[in-house]
C-alpha cells in the first residue's frame, strides 16, 4: 500500500524541534514551574499533616457525606495504608490526583459551559474530547516528557488529558438537560444570560457536574501507574518497582493502596453529589 511516501514521523519531529519548541518552549516552562510548585505545595501539606490527624479529618468527612459505613471503611482503609507502610506514596499519588483534578475542573467546567451555550463550540469540543480519551496515553506521555521533563508535572498533564473529558461532558450535559420551561420562565421574568446561567442553569446542573468530578477523580487515579512510568512518585511507582523485581507481595500492597484510595474518593464525591440532589 505504500503508493506515496508520507514522512509523518520526520515531519512531526522537524516541526517539534525546529519550530514548536523554540517558539513555545518558554511558555511551557512557565506552565511547568507553576504546576510543579503546586504539586510540591500539595504534597508538602499532605505530608506535613500527621497521618492520625489526616485520618481523623477524612473519617469525619466520610461520616458527614456518606454515613457510618463509609466512615468505618475510611478508617480501616487508612489504617491499612499506614500498616503496610505506603503512607508517603499514597500522599504523593493523592497530591497528583488533587492537582490534576483541580486543573481538569478549572479547564473542563468552563469549556463544558461554553459548549452547552453554543452548538458550534460543542461541535469542535466533542471530537477533541473523543480524541483525548481514545488516544493511547503512551502517545502523549512522550511529548509531555519532552515539554515538561520527567516527574510530577508531566504526570499531571498526562492525567489531565485523560481525566478532563468527563468534567466537560457532564457539565455540558447537565446544563443542556435543564428543562426548557424552566429556562423560558427565567427569561420571561427578565433574566440576563449571566443570571440565567448562575441562578438557574448551573445550580440545576450541579448533580451532573458532581458526577463528572467523580469520574475525573477516578480516571486520575487509574492513571497513577502509567504516570509513574514518566517518573511520578507514588503508589504507581511502587507497583512499577514490584513489576520490575517480580515482587508479587509489593505489587499487591501498591495495588490495594490504589484501590482503597479509589473507593474512599469515589464514595465521598458521590456522597457530596447526592447531597446536592436531595437539596433540590
Amino acid at each position: 500500500m505504500n503508493y506515496f511516501e508520507l514522512p509523518l514521523e520526520q515531519w512531526t519531529n522537524t516541526f517539534v524541534d525546529d519550530w514548536f519548541l523554540p517558539t513555545f518552549g518558554n511558555a511551557f516552562d512557565s506552565i511547568g514551574s507553576v504546576l510543579n510548585a503546586f504539586v510540591d505545595l500539595v504534597t508538602d501539606v499532605l505530608l506535613f499533616i500527621p497521618p492520625e490527624l489526616f485520618t481523623l479529618l477524612l473519617v469525619i468527612l466520610s461520616w458527614r457525606v456518606g454515613g457510618k459505613g463509609l466512615a468505618v471503611f475510611t478508617f480501616l482503609g487508612m489504617l491499612f495504608i499506614g500498616s503496610v507502610d505506603i503512607w508517603e506514596e499514597s500522599m504523593h499519588t493523592l497530591s497528583i490526583v488533587i492537582v490534576s483534578t483541580f486543573v481538569s475542573l478549572l479547564v473542563g467546567i468552563p469549556v463544558g459551559i461554553l459548549s452547552a451555550m453554543n452548538n458550534r463550540v460543542q461541535s469542535v469540543v466533542r471530537p477533541t474530547l473523543d480524541f483525548m480519551q481514545t488516544l493511547p496515553s503512551f502517545v502523549y506521555l512522550i511529548p509531555a516528557v519532552l515539554l515538561f521533563g520527567l516527574g510530577g508535572v508531566s504526570a499531571v498533564i498526562a492525567t489531565f488529558i485523560f481525566a478532563a473529558p468527563p468534567a466537560v461532558r457532564m457539565t455540558n450535559l447537565g446544563i443542556r438537560h435543564v428543562p426548557k420551561e424552566v429556562i423560558e420562565a427565567s427569561k420571561a421574568f427578565g433574566s440576563t444570560s449571566k443570571q440565567l446561567l448562575f441562578k438557574v442553569q448551573l445550580p440545576l446542573a450541579v448533580p451532573s457536574i458532581m458526577a463528572g468530578v467523580n469520574q475525573t477523580i477516578m480516571l486520575s487515579l487509574s492513571m497513577a501507574v502509567i504516570a509513574s512510568m514518566i517518573g511520578a512518585p507514588g503508589l504507581g511507582a511502587t507497583v512499577l518497582q514490584a513489576i520490575s523485581r517480580v515482587n508479587i507481595g509489593l505489587g499487591l500492597v501498591g495495588g490495594l493502596g490504589i484501590v482503597v484510595l479509589a473507593i474512599i474518593l469515589d464514595r465521598i464525591t458521590q456522597g457530596i453529589g447526592q447531597g446536592q440532589n436531595n437539596k433540590s
Binding site: 420551561e181 423560558e184 420562565a185 420571561a188 433574566s191 441562578k199 438557574v200
Partner: protein
C-alpha cells in the same frame, strides 16, 4: 390606548422563513408551505388589541399556534414579521436591555407545566423576578409573601416544588408572576395540567384576583368552557390565523365560519349541566351580627353593589343592596327590614336549561340552596354563559 397591540404578527419556523413569508403573503396555505419548503407556519398574520384590565382569551386546537403567539408577545420567540406593542412601545424593535426591562416591569408569565425552579423553595421561586432586578432581600421576600398569601399558599413558603401538588405548584407559578406586580399576565394553558375540580377553583380565584388587582390578562386555552367562563373577549385560532374575535355572546351567536361553529356546537352537551356544576361560592357573605356597617365595608372591599346575607348557620336570609345598607345605617333600621327577598332561588340539581329564563329576567344572581335552606352557591350570568346558555341582562351584582 391598548395595553397590548399585536399587528400582522407572523412566525415561520424552519431554515428559510423569509422566503416562506413571501409565499404566505401571496396566499399559500400552511400545509403547502410545509410540503414545499419544510418550514412550519406557527402564527400567520395575527392582529388584535387588548385593553387595560381586559381578560383576553386565545383559544384553538393543539398546534394552532397559541403558544407561539403568546411567546411572541414577550419575545421568547423572535417574530418573522409584524409588531407587538406593549403600552404603545414596540417590543419587536427593542434592544436586549430594553427587552429585559420590559419583561421585568410589564410582563408576568405563567406556564402550562409550571416551569418552577426545582432548586428553589416557594419563596425563592416567587421572589425570583425581584431578585434578578436587585431588589433587596427583605423587600422582595415581603412582596413574595404577599403574593403567596394572595394565591392562598400561606404556610408553604419553605416547601420545594416537588413537595407540592399540581394545583399548589401552579399557585406558585401564579404568585411568581404576581410578585413582580406587572400590569400584564401572560398565561399559556395555565390550568390545562390540573384536574377539573382544582381547575375550577383556580379559574374562580384568578377571576377574583384579576378584578382585585386590575390586571390585563392574555390567557391561552384549548377549552371552550374555560374560554367562555374567563374571557371578556375570545380570539379563536386555526392554523396560525385568528379566525374570529369577539365576546362570548358574539362567538356563540354568530360563529364566523364552520370551524368556529363546530367548536360551539360541541358545547351543546353542556346543556345537561345542572345548577351545582356551574354555581360558585359568592365572594363575600355577611351576617346580621355585623350590622349594615360590616356589610357596607365588605361590599366596598370587593367592589360589589350588593351582598347576600346568611345567618350563623349559613341559612339564606336575603339580598342587601348598597343603597338599602346605607339607608339602614343612616336611619338605624334593623337589617332584616331592608333585605330584598325578591331573589330567585333554586336547588343544586335543577338543570341549567330551566334557569335560562330566570337568568334573563333577574338583576341578581340565582341563589342555590340545599333542603335546609343553606346557601350553597350562586349562579351569575357568567356561569350560565359558560354552560352555554345565554342571559340577556347585564349582571351588576356581586361578581
Amino acid at each position: 390606548m391598548s395595553k397590548i397591540k399585536v399587528s400582522e404578527l407572523t412566525k415561520i419556523f424552519g431554515p428559510n422563513p423569509k422566503q416562506s413569508l413571501e409565499r404566505l403573503n401571496k396566499g399559500s396555505s400552511k400545509d403547502e408551505i410545509l410540503a414545499d419548503t419544510g418550514n412550519t407556519v406557527g402564527v400567520n398574520q395575527a392582529s388584535f388589541d387588548v385593553k387595560a384590565g381586559e381578560f383576553f382569551v386565545i383559544m384553538g386546537l393543539s398546534g394552532s399556534g397559541k403558544s407561539t403567539l403568546i411567546r411572541l408577545v414577550n419575545r421568547l420567540i423572535e417574530p418573522t414579521s409584524g409588531h407587538v406593542y406593549i403600552d404603545d412601545e414596540d417590543i419587536t424593535n427593542m434592544n436586549k436591555n430594553e427587552l429585559i426591562e420590559a419583561r421585568r416591569k410589564k410582563l408576568g408569565m405563567v406556564f402550562q407545566n409550571f416551569g418552577l425552579f426545582p432548586h428553589r423553595n416557594v419563596v425563592g421561586n416567587v421572589a425570583y423576578g425581584l431578585e434578578i432586578q436587585g431588589v433587596e432581600k427583605q423587600e422582595r421576600e415581603q412582596k413574595a409573601q404577599k403574593a403567596i398569601e394572595d394565591v392562598g399558599l400561606k404556610g408553604y413558603e419553605s416547601s420545594f416544588p416537588n413537595e407540592l401538588s399540581g394545583g399548589m405548584q401552579q399557585r406558585v407559578g401564579l404568585a411568581r408572576a404576581l410578585a413582580n406586580d406587572t400590569d400584564i399576565l401572560l398565561m399559556d394553558e395555565a390550568f390545562s395540567a390540573l384536574d377539573p375540580l382544582i381547575r375550577k377553583d383556580m379559574q374562580d380565584e384568578l377571576l377574583k384576583l384579576q378584578k382585585k388587582l386590575g390586571k390585563t390578562v392574555l390567557f391561552i386555552t384549548h377549552d371552550l368552557d374555560e374560554a367562555l367562563k374567563l374571557g371578556d373577549r375570545i380570539a379563536i385560532m386555526k392554523d396560525g390565523q385568528i379566525v374570529q374575535i369577539g365576546s362570548s355572546e358574539e362567538i356563540l351567536e354568530n360563529p364566523a365560519n364552520e370551524y368556529v361553529s363546530n367548536f360551539v356546537k360541541d358545547v351543546d352537551r353542556s346543556k345537561v349541566l345542572d345548577a351545582e356544576q356551574v354555581m360558585r361560592r359568592p365572594e363575600v357573605l355577611t351576617t346580621y351580627k355585623g350590622g349594615p356597617r360590616t356589610a357596607i365595608k365588605k361590599m366596598e372591599d370587593v367592589g360589589a353593589s350588593s351582598i347576600f346575607v346568611v345567618d350563623r348557620d349559613d341559612h339564606f336570609q336575603g339580598l342587601l343592596t348598597i343603597d338599602d345598607a346605607i339607608r339602614a345605617y343612616k336611619e338605624e333600621i334593623p337589617m332584616e327590614k331592608v333585605l330584598n327577598q325578591d331573589v330567585h332561588t333554586t336547588t343544586p340539581t335543577t338543570p341549567l336549561n330551566d334557569l335560562i329564563g330566570v337568568a334573563a329576567d333577574t338583576k341578581y344572581p340565582i341563589v342555590v340552596l340545599d333542603e335546609e335552606q343553606k346557601l350553597l352557591g350562586i349562579i351569575s350570568r357568567v356561569s350560565i354563559l359558560s354552560g352555554l346558555v345565554l342571559g340577556k341582562e347585564k349582571d351588576e351584582v356581586t361578581n
